[in-house]
Amino acid sequence: MKKPVIEFHNYSFKYNSQVEPTLRDLNFTIYEGEKVLIVGPSGSGKSTIGHCINGLVPFSFKGEVTGSLKILGKEAKSLDIFSLSKMVGTVLQDPDGQFIGLTVGEDIAFALENDCTEQQTMHEIVDEVAKMVEMDGYLSSSIHHLSGGQKQRVSLAGVLVDKVEILLFDEPLANLDPATGKYAIELIERIQKETNTTVVIIEHRLEDVLHCPVDRIIVIDDGRVVADMSPDQLLASEYLEKSYIREPLYVKAAKYAGCEIMEEMKPAHPSTFALDGCRDQLLTWVEAVDIVPSSEKREPILELKDISFSYEPGRKTIHDVSFSIEKGEMVSIVGKNGAGKSTLSKIICGFEKLSSGQILFDGQDITHDTIKERSLRIGLVMQNPNHMISKNMIFDEVALGLVIRGVAEEEVKERVERTLKICGLYPFRNWPISALSFGQKKRVTIASILVLEPEVIILDEPTAGQDLRHYTEIMEFLVELNRQGKTIVMITHDMHLMLEYTPRAIVIEGGRKIADDSSAAILTDSGIIQQANLKETSLFELAKRLEIGEPRRFVERFIACDREVRNIWQ
């Protein structure tokens, strides 16, 4: 019998600031050496479970606790946060918030410094741990020169110095590009093997975590445990669908084709997934597809011609990028963290002055237009909604741009209400923004741009941090806008989003455009995938295993089917 390390027993928790309890009557146990994934939609309480394990609940987030939680056999309530931090090492979601030191070495040493470790010992431990996470060459680098993935590795090293017995990862994939995310999952796997720790991962990107084996998955919905079983068992069940968690795409495809998924088929990984039973069904399913011919060529609305840009003289960030976006198109701009995607969007909006090149809008040269002039035609929704929100009430926030432009009160009201309805925010119109979730805030910022009626909308990571349900909501909402004639450009890491919603994609790498093609073509070009840190979706792997000559058709069939199903949710 294995030793239990985390035991929830009739555990409930209610934040002081809330009326309803966030966690209700939890009962589950995690054993020594296990790797457990906790999944759940946004607002399900899965992050709160993480806070309970590391002690932030109830020591930092105050509230009412009932029932019992034992960590390594000790009642958590009776410990303090410092003793808990010696048992549980937490890697938080936001790497910039967790990275406290000025340099890599200092940050890794932070916990050791607090323990008054002698300097020499400290340097030895830091060197050793940095090697484990492959950051040993960067000890004196400043945080501002690291990529998102590197910051996360440093955060991991920072908790490894303590020889903790439990490693807790709160949404480790949230800010990473696809290939870096894959690497992070492999790193977690390796570290667990090397250190013999118990690992708890809280994440809603199930398929990405399953890239490496997981012992058990616990599904949380509405503060309760709805499932607690092995990945194979879970994927054969209905629980994920019921809780609006995205199932692995290859499993979903098999389900659409009418196959019955069973635990024995080992669906947890696309390479182990036993297809023999459902090969025929899948093949027939694919045959039934009609590929919609790509629509005729339309007029360009936005054209970039040989754009170059540098933040400091002599070091170009963007090199001679040219592309054109057609009226009514929906396009993705993809590439790894720091490739220059966001810079490009800022150049288009006039936030950055380009060093050479030309930008045309509807055939007119707008290279020298001001931010304000461009904002009438092109709207940019920033990645972090907190950077855009300045009003307290939702209505006022969405109205702000109109009020400043001197639009009459009546018209403001009418336009804001219409926009709020489109964005599904109408029922909340008189709420303070502070009462909204991250995803809802994001929608407020989209609404506040939309209300200005720009012809082109650029969205930086529109679905980051959203669960499948909100993801679908936002994307379908954008599709609807697109149908109404708006041109939509998305900057994203999410390969499936790109495939699913944008027929065309532009790939940026090192400030250069390296591809501009149909999304499906890009995701089958292994050269580009590697160069730009992208990742094939598992649908391609499935198609390959089925020996389907044209994997693209398979993917397209899947997308058509999937969107139809998810539309019923709304």
Binding site: L92, G97, A111, D115, C116, H387, I404
Partner: protein, 276 residues
């Protein structure tokens, strides 16, 4: 908006090799000496000495020229203001009046006034090279450790480290917010009328404050989870051990301080008066 900031300049020099603690103490001694004395001989000596140190540090004038220009402009304006407000200040201090020429009313030019204003400028100048050097040659990581070592609570020292760590992040946030608000038509420049400008400014400052408060929560949680504040003291990864050269430098600076004070106050007055 590219306002340059003075920061650490990586180099190999004897000044860089001194520990942060030594440099911090020397900086404090130097500032105190320059603040307390008004003796022209001492100020001139300190100024020349600070320029020598500056050369030893191998920092190039070019690298800090943007700040020097700024200071020179400030000192020029300050001198004009002093003269405008008090053209007889020098006469008052030194007790004599050697008029060079009259302008009008109480505005004339005396040797005393010129001497007084040279002194005040020299006083500002004496501090500048050392202050510049302290910042340009001390790695920010060593800052907090050094403050802690000279007796400042490690909690306050760490607050300084956090400020240094997060200045670039806050700057980036500020820029993003300002730009996205501008794209909604919010203008903070002087094109708008003042009340509106103030209103517009708040719509940039409020998101910055709210997101910074959120940052405070995240960071305090992260620090708590990693055991900050557990003990009465803490050790520092980036602290450097004292070497012989540190002791020698400290002794030299203390001596310098004592000598300047003795020379300055020898005659019971902090001003050096060449006119009597």
């Amino acid at each position: 908006m590219a306002v340059e900031m003075l920061s650490y300049i990586e180099r190999k020099s004897p000044i860089h090799e001194l520990t942060g603690v030594t440099k911090l103490i020397c900086f404090i001694i130097w500032s105190s000496a320059a603040m307390l004395t008004y003796d022209t001989r001492i100020l001139a000596f300190l100024f020349i000495f600070s320029i020598v140190i500056f050369f030893i540090s191998k920092i190039k004038l070019k690298e800090i020229s943007f700040i020097l220009i700024f200071i020179l402009v400030f000192l020029l304006l300050n001198n004009i203001a002093i003269y405008a407000f008090s053209p007889q200040e020098g006469v008052k201090i030194y007790g004599t009046s050697h008029v060079l020429f009259e302008i009008f009313g109480r505005y004339n030019v005396t040797i005393e006034q010129i001497f007084y204003q040279i002194n005040i400028t020299l006083k500002y100048f004496t501090v500048i090279p050392v202050a510049l050097l302290f910042i340009a040659t001390t790695h920010p990581s060593e800052f907090a450790a050094s403050m802690n070592k000279i007796g400042v609570s490690y909690r306050i020292s760490y607050a300084v480290a956090l400020a240094l760590r997060y200045i670039p992040d806050v700057q980036r946030d500020f820029r993003n917010i300002a730009l996205s608000q501008q794209a909604r038509g919010i203008d903070m420049s002087s094109k708008e009328k003042l009340p509106k400008r103030i209103k517009n400014a708040t719509s940039i400052i409020i998101p910055l404050i709210l997101s910074s408060l959120e940052k405070i929560d995240t960071i305090s949680n992260a620090m708590e989870l990693r055991g900050f504040g557990k003990n009465k003291r803490r050790t520092w990864y980036s602290a450097r051990p004292f070497q012989k050269r540190d002791y020698l430098t400290l002794i030299a600076f203390v001596l310098l301080f004592v000598i300047s004070m003795v020379v300055t106050y020898y005659d019971g007055d902090r001003f050096y008066n060449p006119f009597v």
